[in-house]
Symmetry: C2
Subunit: 453 residues, 2 copies
C-alpha cells in the first residue's frame, strides 16, 4: 500500500472535475490538488457527436491537460474504489491510499440502457459514453455498417444522427415522443428541427417506440411497437444518461430519489468536507425549485466553480441557485437555443403565463453578410412580468444570444426591464436595433398585458 497526502482530491476528470480542480487551485493556491480519473485521455463531452462526422477522429476532441499541469495540479489515471469518509481517504486500484481535506466527487454519468428494449446486448448496438477507446472502436466499425438506427431524439440523438448522416451512413432516428428534442423545446421549434433533419436525408420515426433489437449475434433489424420491422446494421442508443454514484453510495453519502448525490447550494454533500459537481450531483430547477434530471457540461462547470470557491471558506454570495438549462444545438446552419422553462412545461407546472414571439433577421439590412432568420419566443409570468424562459431559432450568433437570455433569467428581469434595456447592434453581426427579436418579443407581451387591462 502506497500513501499520499493531498489537500484537495477531485474524483473524475471530465469538464466538472477539470474546472473544480483548476478553480480550487486558483482560489487556494497554497493547497495541493489532485485529479483522479479513469481515462488516460479525456473526451470533450459535448464534442463527442462531432467525432463521427465533422472532426473525423476522437484525437481532435481531447480535453487538454495543459491547464491542470500548468497550475501544478497532479493527475492520477486510476480508479477510485473506496471513499473512507471517517478517515478522509480514498483508495485507488493500484492500492494507493490518498488523504484529503476536501473531496470533490465529479464521477459523471454513463449511458442508460433501457430495460424495455430487448436485444441491447447484440453486437453493433452502441451507446455514446465519454470513453475514447469505446468511441474509437465504435467509429472504426462504421464503414461497414451502412444502415443505422438512432434510438432517442434528445440532443445527443439528434447530433449523432446528423453527424452519422454527414459521414455517409443511412440514418433513421426513432423517438417514442411525438417530437424530437421534446424535453428541451416546445413543439414549434422541434418541428423546424424535424424539417431540417428530413431535408438533410435523415429518416424520422416519431411517436413510436422500439420493442426489440433483433439479430443473430449482431444487429439485423429493429422491431417497433407498432409491429413494423426495419432492417439495420447497427443501433445507437441515445436514451439518456444515469449518474455514476455507486462509489458515493458505498461510502454512505446521501443520494436523492433521482439517483443523484444530494447537495446544498454550496455543492456540499451531507458530509461537510465532501462536495459533488456535474452529472452525478443533484440538480434543482431554477424556476420550479424541483429536482430535475438535466445534465449539461455548462451547468457542471458552474457547479464546479462554486464548489471550488467554497471549499475552505463558505460564502453565501457564491452559491448555486438552481439549474437554468441554458443550451443550444445546431442542424446545418440553423441554431436552436433554449433557456429556462418552456411554454409546455410552464403550463404543466401551473404557471399563469403569457407568450410573446418575434421573427426577424440576424443582420440589418437583412441581406447582409450570410444572414439567417432569428426568432425569439419568450415565456413570461403574467402578473410579475418575470421572464421565465425562452427559445431562439437563428444562425450561429443565436448560441450567444441564448446566453443573453440566460442572463436575463438569472438576473430575474421582467418584460419591462427588457424593454428598457440597452443592446448593441451592428449590421454585419446582429439584428436591427429597431427590430431586435428579443426586445420585440418582450414588446409583444407588453402589448398583450395592456390589452387585458
Amino acid at each position: 500500500m502506497k500513501k499520499l497526502n493531498m489537500n484537495v482530491v477531485v474524483i473524475g476528470g471530465s469538464a466538472a472535475g477539470l474546472v473544480a480542480a483548476m478553480t480550487s487551485k486558483s482560489f487556494y493556491p497554497e493547497k495541493s490538488v489532485m485529479v483522479i480519473r479513469k481515462e488516460p485521455k479525456v473526451m470533450i463531452p459535448c464534442g463527442i457527436p462531432y467525432i463521427f462526422g465533422t472532426l473525423g477522429t476522437s484525437d481532435k476532441n481531447v480535453l487538454p491537460d495543459g491547464g491542470l499541469l500548468k497550475l501544478g495540479i497532479s493527475i492520477k489515471v486510476d480508479t477510485v474504489n473506496d471513499i473512507n469518509v471517517e478517515n478522509h481517504t480514498v483508495r485507488t486500484d493500484d492500492d494507493t491510499v490518498i488523504t484529503y481535506e476536501r473531496l470533490i466527487i465529479a464521477t459523471g454519468s454513463q449511458p442508460s440502457i433501457p430495460k424495455f428494449i430487448a436485444g441491447t446486448d447484440l453486437d453493433n448496438v452502441f451507446t455514446v459514453p465519454k470513453n475514447k477507446e469505446y468511441l474509437d472502436h465504435f467509429h472504426s466499425k462504421l464503414d461497414k455498417l451502412k444502415k443505422i438506427a438512432v434510438i432517442g431524439a434528445g440532443f445527443i440523438g439528434v447530433e449523432m444522427s446528423d453527424e452519422l448522416n454527414k459521414r455517409g451512413n443511412d440514418v433513421t432516428l426513432i423517438e417514442i415522443e411525438k417530437h424530437i428534442l421534446g424535453a428541451a423545446f416546445d413543439e414549434d421549434s422541434s418541428v423546424i428541427g424535424e424539417t431540417l433533419l428530413t431535408e438533410r436525408g435523415i429518416k424520422l420515426l416519431l411517436g413510436v417506440g422500439v420493442k426489440a433489437i433483433q439479430g443473430n449475434g449482431k444487429v439485423e433489424s429493429i422491431l417497433l411497437n407498432n409491429g413494423e420491422i426495419i432492417e439495420v446494421d447497427a443501433v445507437v442508443l441515445s436514451t439518456g444518461y444515469v449518474p455514476n454514484t455507486s462509489l458515493a453510495k458505498a461510502a454512505g453519502i446521501s443520494i436523492n430519489k433521482n439517483g443523484c448525490i444530494k447537495c446544498d447550494a454550496y455543492m456540499r454533500t451531507h458530509q461537510k468536507d465532501i462536495f459533488t459537481v456535474g452529472d452525478c450531483a443533484q440538480k434543482r430547477d431554477f424556476i420550479t425549485g424541483k429536482l430535475t434530471p438535466i445534465m449539461l457540461a455548462s451547468t457542471a462547470c458552474a457547479e464546479a466553480r462554486i464548489a471550488a470557491m467554497n471549499l475552505y471558506n463558505l460564502s453565501t454570495i457564491k452559491t448555486f441557485n438552481g439549474t437554468i438549462s441554458i443550451y443550444s444545438t445546431n442542424i446545418g446552419d440553423t441554431t436552436f437555443g433554449v433557456a429556462g422553462i418552456t411554454e409546455s412545461r410552464a403550463k404543466e407546472e401551473g404557471f399563469d403565463i403569457i407568450i410573446g414571439s418575434f421573427k426577424g433577421m440576424d443582420r440589418h439590412p437583412g441581406k447582409l453578410n450570410n444572414p439567417h432568420y432569428q426568432s425569439v419566443k419568450l415565456v413570461v409570468a403574467k402578473y410579475s412580468g418575470l421572464v421565465l424562459g425562452g427559445e431562439i431559432v437563428g444562425g450561429v450568433s443565436a448560441g450567444e444570444l441564448t446566453n443573453v437570455l440566460g442572463f436575463v433569467i438569472q438576473n430575474k428581469m421582467t418584460v419591462t426591464d427588457l424593454l428598457c434595456s440597452q443592446i448593441g447592434t451592428q449590421p454585419m453581426l446582429t439584428a436591427s436595433p429597431a427590430a431586435y427579436p428579443l426586445i420585440k418579443a418582450a414588446e409583444s407581451i407588453a402589448k398583450q398585458l395592456i390589452c387585458k387591462c
Copy 2:
C-alpha cells in the same frame, strides 16, 4: 394653412423616430400617431458604410415603412419649421399646422465638419450623412475617384475605409489620435484592428492631423500637419456628428453644454409634454453619470422605447439610467465589441480598477466549424468587484457576446456573480464551458484579488 390634429407627433424618421412611433402606438393603441420626416426613404443608419462595398446600393439599405403603416401610424414627408410649445403645435413647410398632445423630438444628427481643416468646401469632399440622395450622388462618383483619404478613424471612418477598399478604391485612413477607434477601445484592441486594416490594403496614417484639403475647385491633395502632402482624388470626412437641435432651440427648449436637448430619465425635455430621443437627446454615461457625446442607433432605440412608454403614464420602472455604450464592429471576419467603460477611461476618471483577460477559441474543440479566437478583457472596480466594462475580440458571435456583457453591466453584476453564473455552450457555436473567456477573465480578476489579500 391646413390644420391637423394628432395625439402623438414624432419629428424625425430614423431609428429613434421609428421606434418611438411604433412603441407609442403599441402602448397607447387608441392614440393617433404621426411621424414627420424629411426623407422620402430612410436609410438604416448603421448600414450606410455597407452601401459602398458589400451591399453595392443604397436601395438595399432602406428602413422599411411597413411596420409603421401596419400599425396605422401616419407618415408625413415634410420639414418641421416651427414648434409652438404654448399652443402644442408644429408647423411644416407645406404650411400645415399640426396639434399634438405629446411631441417626440428625434431630429438626429448630421456630420460635423471640422473648422480647423481648410478646403472642406472643395468638390469631392464628402461626409456620411443619413441622406439617401446625398449618398447616391457620392456613390456614383466613386468609380472615377481612385484615391480616397478618409479622415477620422472612429466606427464610421473604419467601416467606410474597409468598404471603399472592398469596392476597389485606394484608401488612406488618417487619424489625429495614436490609434483607430480610440474613443471606444483600449489600445490593445485598436492595434489588432490596425493590423487587420493594413493587411487588407488600407494605408493608415496615425497620430497625424490634416491641415488642409487642397485643389483647384476639386480635391487634388491633402496637406498634413507634419508638412507632408498626399495626392488624393477625394476626401471622406468622418469626424463625428453634431446633434440637430436648431428647431428645439428656436422653440426655447433647453439645450445642454454639449449641444444636446436636455432630458430626464423618462426622456422628457423641460417641457413636460415634449420628449426627445436619439442623437439629438442628452446622454449620460451609465458608469460615470457624466454627459457623454456618444451616438448609437441601439441607444437611440432604447431611449425611444422608454419615451414612448412614458408618454401618458410616467413609470419609475421604465426609465433610462444612462448610456452603457454597447457596440461592435467588424473587420473581415474579426469582430470588435465593447460595453461600458474602457481601462484607459476608467483610469482617467479615477476608478481603482483591476483588469482581467482571457483568450480562447469560440468553438470547442477549437478546430470545429469555422473557428475564431475569442478574447475578453474585463474592467472591474477593485473593492466592489463590480463589472464596469469590457472588450471582446472574436468571430461573428462576439456581437451577441458583447450583449451578454452589456446585460452583465446593466444588472450591476460582480466578478463573483459572473463566476457563479450559468452559461450555455455548444461545440459548433460557442467557447468551451471549461474555458469560456468571459468567465475565465472574471476568474483571472478573482485570483488577483485573492493574491492581494
